[in-house]
Amino acid sequence: MVSEAPAPVVVHLSLVIGGDLRDSGGGRLGRVDDVIVRLDAEYPPVSGLLASVASRQVFVPAEAVKEIRQDAVVLGASRLDLRPFERRAQEVLLKKDVLDRQLINVDGARLVRANEIELARLDGWYRVVGVDVGLRGMARRVLPRRLAGRVSLGAFLDWASVEPFTGHVPTVRLRVPHPKLARLHPAEIADLVEAASHREGEEIMRAVGSDGELEADVFEELDAQHLREFLEERSDEEVAEVLARMEPDDAADALGDLDEHRREPVARLLPPVQRRKVRALVGFDPATAGGLMSPEFICVYDTATCAEALDRVRRSVASPDTLAWVYVMSRNRRLRAGIQIVELLRAEPAADIIDVAGHVPRVSADVEVEELARLMTDYDLTVLPVVDDRDQLLGVVTVDDVLELVLPRGWRRRFDLLGGE
């Protein structure tokens, strides 16, 4: 929102900085170097100044300041308490951290650059009221001090519609939730992320991350390149969380954009319904082992005992039909053998599981549903393990899923023969 100057006198930051620091009697103490504000209010209040006094940098707390004017900052006390400056939470230095940097103009959903920062006395204290992104602000910065004072106040952006990036400020990192961003449409946020540098984009993404739905919406709107960048930095769990909330085809695209070795682990972490849809879309044909398999299975190392394996079954929350078999893998995670749960119960608890388990047939992810049905019939299996090209277990296909597909397809074929549909 571009607004005219509010009633109180507006002070330009560029003139305050470099201006005199005076005591209450008007005597010159030093030079103002920077203005410190706290970002926790709608209009951030001035919480202190950095000044050079006798070529030493000192911190002037807000309580000591009586007046901030264009030409000088006047202190209330006649004596200056020289304290070293330490950043406190939520504090930023206006010149060092905000001026000349990018800001989000929330109303226009655009990135702007702060040419000038405007201060004014509001609700009893000096606060940041806006930023000038126009030429006047810039002219004031370039001209010598005496001429700069004559550049009149121009239209400026109300601070209420501006959000600064604070990722480069050590004390504010990730603590400011950027509440104003929530006013934007996800597509607008995505545009901002794409226009910003990676670090600033990451800051925006982290800020919307507190609202999972919004984050997923923004991810849906991002272009492939940025999507990849931001997903790559997140853990498998975080990626799955985002993907779970996205539309299945967007989620499938996103999954396809991930590094190949991460796709399967992420897919496994998705909720079952989303996983099935995403898998189908990402290329696992839903009528193959890859599309039908469930990642819920129990696979123990070949050094385990039967009792240990049973204990795993007991603690598992997976659905009973997938747990009809327990699988055994070698130390390099290759599938070695399998045992039915009933046989496992009958076996000596102290026995090594590898001694009681036997060979199991296995399929790769691209095996068609008809072949799965045939194998299950031939071997009398209710569960069939699916392995990758290194013989590592990816998931299991259960007989009910296979039946579900095989039967209706048979029906359809018959209709076709009769010239139906």
Binding site: D100, R101, Q102, R110, L111, V112, R113, N115, V133, M138, R141, V142, H168, A195, A196, S197, H198, R199, E200, G201, Q225, H226, E229, E232, D249, A252, G256, E260, R263, E264, K277, A280, L281, V282, G283, F284, D285, P286, A287, G290, G291, A365, D366, L403, E404, L405, L407, P408, R409, W411
Partner: protein
């Protein structure tokens, strides 16, 4: 149960339609993959370095060959190393910070420095832009196309490419525009040089103590390492979206591009050194002059090849200079930027490009334009800008806050400092000579 099936089949159809697969695709042989990867990654580094072989560059290299034969060839090795060091820093900053050089200067050094840099870039690029359109006119003039036709058509084509095209398309066309540079090696072969002598001259420096030699040395350094190259490479790396994960590929691309550009420059020196120098034709005023002068010694084809090279070079630089100026202005003032943006999305960016192309082409059409005068003025501006820019690049790429783990290593930092110092020294010398010499 049956209810789910149509949905599954619909999904299956869509999956097939998309043609995507989790299964790894068919693997190509490893060297082939690597070659494709390198060629496919060619972009900002190659473009920036080769845009430096523009009309002015070709004129300078031709003059070097015509005047001193192969004696200055050794210097190209030194200049190549310097160029790589400088370009790598800029590209790395682009990849790590995601910001252009002008943006970083504004954020770290304030508005005055960035305004100075912006003004200097705008003036210098406008000047060079004029010389590129003169180059286009001259190159096509050798083929008999009138300037009144060639320059406006070229300007229109370049404008459409950078304004209407996507970044990807523009980048591809720019990379293709480097193909005409292969004309120079062929021209050099046609000139039948003494290759052994040329090889020896590259390795063993021959130093003259004359002022002319020093001047050409300085001029060559100035034309090979020009401010717009660093500005372009960093901004383009940003627009290309190169992240730290692709940093090594980008570095390889920058190194390859810089070496290619300077090998081309060497061939220009060899071609003119083997002909013009040997036959006592020591003075070359422009790239077109060099092409014409070649004809009696190396044949009509050599002239034609030089013209083709000049055309490619001028077209490439004629696009890159306005784009660089637009990047810098948009970054300094915080406007939307990017070749991929439409006019409506980034009006200032498009406006700057349009103004530079229009003025560049219009001025180039003025009959009897003192091109040399324009280039001397440009040299002064660039000479003043380069040392400042290089110091900024060196310091920024060494800033922990910006670069983190990617800041200059200790050894590299020393090399970079020496490079910055030497290049700045040469640049200031050139500046002094250009300003003072006419007064003497």
């Amino acid at each position: 149960m049956a209810r789910r099936v149509p949905a599954v089949h619909a999904l299956r159809d869509r999956a097939i339609e998309r043609g995507r697969s989790l299964r790894p695709r068919h693997r190509l042989s490893r060297p082939l993959v690597r070659l494709i990867a390198v060629v496919g990654f060619l972009g900002p580094g190659l473009i920036a370095a080769n845009a430096g072989n523009d009309a002015g560059g070709i004129a300078t290299y031709s003059a070097v060959g015509a005047r001193y034969g192969f004696d200055l060839l050794w210097m190209m090795v030194v200049i190549t190393v310097s160029l790589i060091v400088v370009q790598e820093m800029a590209a790395r900053m682009g990849a790590v910070t995601g910001k252009g050089l002008a943006e970083l200067i504004r954020e770290q050094y304030g508005v005055r420095w960035s305004l100075f840099a912006t003004t200097a870039v705008l003036i210098a690029n406008l000047g060079i832009c004029v010389s590129e359109f003169v180059g286009i006119g001259a190159a096509l003039g050798l083929a008999g196309v009138p300037v009144q036709l060639s320059v406006p058509i070229a300007a229109m084509g370049l404008w459409l490419l950078v304004i209407r095209g996507s970044y990807k398309l523009a980048e591809r066309v720019f990379v293709l525009m480097t193909i005409p540079f292969f004309a120079y090696p062929i021209a050099a072969i046609l000139a039948r040089p003494d290759w052994a002598a040329a090889g020896k001259a590259i390795v063993v420096p021959t130093i003259h103590t004359s002022t002319g030699y020093l001047l050409l040395f300085v001029a060559t350094a100035g034309t090979t390492i020009t401010p717009f190259m660093q500005l372009y490479v960093q901004s383009a790396v940003v627009e290309r979206g190169v992240g730290v994960d692709q940093l090594n590929a980008e570095r390889a691309e920058v190194v390859t591009g810089s070496i290619f550009a300077n090998v081309v420059a060497c061939f220009i020196i060899v071609a003119t050194g083997a002909t013009l120098y040997l036959h006592g034709h020591h003075d070359v005023g422009s790239a077109a002059d060099a092409a014409k002068a070649l004809e009696p010694f190396a044949g009509r084809y050599a002239e034609l090849l030089f013209a083709v090279g000049l055309l490619g070079a001028s077209l490439l630089a004629g696009a890159i200079l306005p784009v660089t100026a637009a990047y810098v202005i948009a970054e300094t003032f915080g406007f939307e930027k990017g070749i991929s943006h439409r006019i409506r999305e980034a009006p200032v960016f498009a406006g700057v490009i349009t103004v530079l192309i229009v003025i560049g082409a219009a001025v180039a059409l003025i009959p009897g334009l003192p091109v040399i005068g324009v280039l001397v003025g440009v040299q002064v501006v660039n000479g003043a800008l380069l040392p400042i820019l290089l110091v900024f690049i060196w310091r920024l790429s060494n800033t922990q806050e910006l670069m983190g783990a990617y800041r200059n290593g200790h050894v590299f930092n020393v090399i970079a400092a020496l490079t910055v110092l030497a290049t700045s020294g040469l640049s200031i010398t050139l500046l002094a000579v250009t300003v003072v010499a006419p007064l003497l």
